[in-house]
Amino acid sequence: MSLHVNTKPAAAQKTARPKPPSRIKHYLTIALILVLLWASSKQTEASLPELITGMPNMWDLLKEMFPPRWSYFDNIVHGMLETIRMALIGTTIGAILAIPVSLLCAANLTRYRWLYYPSRFLLNLVRTVPDLLLAAIFVSVFGLGPIPGILALTVFSVGLISKLTYELIETIDHGPLEALTAAGGNYTQKIIYGVVPQIQANFMSFVLYTFEINVRAAAVLGLVGAGGIGLYYEATLGFLEYDKTSVIILFTLAVVLVIDYASTKLRERLL
């Protein structure tokens, strides 16, 4: 019994075989990455020996962090509550301000190109500035305390929520809007009865998502003097009290994880 699956002669099969795809692109990519790696490690003076000699320091640090000094907990509860307050207020004000901004940026509501293109451009510029940088500037303007932190989080929230919302508004169903126009609804009525019902669940979800990010951000804003629990890092690290630092880190992690979990569950219910 002979099973001849290959009926074609060997030579014909050889010519029919497709050429493997060119690999030049892969090699170029790898070469580019290697060049970047070499150049940036030279620029940052990164060295493996330094890391290895630093390892025992690191290990000592970790050893000193444990066990955490739990008695320090009472001192930082106030800072933690301030962190949550800052995130809450910053997100709320940001969300309220984001509503008109996103209406202005949406191409299907703002018909004028000269109006929505510049608004989007400004929004993109605002979003390039990291929140901690904003906080550092606001601290030098308004002085130390939670106010500059709240302002920084507000600006950051406006940027993020507006961007997500205007992209959502551009995808809404135009039926209700046309029906409202036909029935003689004015601009405000079209927004309230035509746009809001379509986006409110998603909008709330964006706000909660921004709140999650803001809680994380607010936890480190104190490092530049903008209030919240971050103030305590420098206080404890400066005095080499690492067992207190670990309490701050663990407390922050716990609060962030709880808020993330609650917010994710809420968002799942919303959508």
């Binding site: 640090l61 940088l133 500037i137 709240i150």
Partner: protein, 264 residues
């Protein structure tokens, strides 16, 4: 002709409770913040920062001897490039650990996911503070902080990508007697590589933003001259640094976005 009356949708009977709770939360939040103690000079400083933005200190862009804007930005860029490459390499094994379809037991991938979410919530600035204690202040501490912190997010994205691949090639290789490494190399890697690169570029965009602020705590980059200019009230220098950061981030976002659109 009968008119059909459409019933209004029923409202949640507990909604007033929700509103009351929200109101209580907001009263708690606003009552706890001291809305006083703003510096009287706030207005003039704001004005000088804005003037600084429009009349920046152009001389600072390039100084022949040492610390200037271009070198600061280059340092920032190098920190983010190196941090991203390190995290991409470290993320790969973590992703395989956390991917559900790469291990036989749920507990293995589950434990990987918990470790990753722990890394993700650990603030990178705090990580940078700890690395400064270990290797001393400078760019290298920033590189290590970014490299480790990014693993949390990158591995999660990588793992989700691995979970969504087509099982066909993997099974075909298994049937022809390939070992686990061969399956990984010939079936998994070709499928996930474009998305991996795209995610890495996305993380790179985030890392550039983070690297601009690492200098605030002494971990290298443009943040150090910025915080110095802020505290010595060189508003025109603050202006040029801010402009430099905004231009750099915008350009990098544009380039990286274009490459990502081509990749996926």
């Amino acid at each position: 002709m009968n008119n059909i009356i459409i019933q209004k949708p029923k409202k949640n009977p507990y909604r007033w409770l929700v509103y009351a709770a929200l109101l209580a939360v907001y009263i708690w939040a606003f009552s706890g913040v001291p809305f006083t103690g703003i510096k009287e000079t706030a207005g003039t400083i704001m004005k000088s920062i804005l003037t600084g933005l429009f009349e920046p200190d152009w001389d600072y862009v390039y100084l022949p001897d040492g610390e200037d804007l271009l070198r600061g930005l280059l340092d920032t860029l190098a920190i983010s490039v190196l941090g991203t490459i390190i995290s991409a390499v470290v993320s790969f094994p973590f992703a395989i650990w956390a991917a559900r379809n790469r291990s036989r037991f749920r507990t293995v991938s589950g434990s990987g996911k918990i470790v990753l979410s722990f890394v993700r919530t650990f603030p990178e600035l705090v990580m940078a503070l700890l690395f400064i204690k270990a290797v001393g202040p400078g760019s290298f501490a920033g590189v290590l902080a970014l490299g480790i912190h990014s693993v949390g997010m990158l591995s999660k994205l990588y793992a989700e990508e691995i979970e969504s691949i087509d099982r066909g090639p993997s099974e075909a290789l298994l049937a022809s007697g390939a070992n686990r490494f061969q399956q990984l190399w010939f079936a998994v890697l070709p499928q996930v590589l474009p998305s991996f690169l795209s995610y890495t570029l996305y993380r790179f965009e985030i890392n550039v933003r983070s690297a601009t602020i690492l200098g605030f705590i002494g971990a290298g980059g443009i943040g150090t001259p910025l915080i110095f200019a802020l505290s010595t009230r060189h508003w025109d220098r603050v202006g040029i640094i801010l402009l430099g950061i905004i231009v750099m981030i915008t350009v990098i976002d544009l380039i990286s976005g274009a490459i990502r659109r081509k990749l996926v």
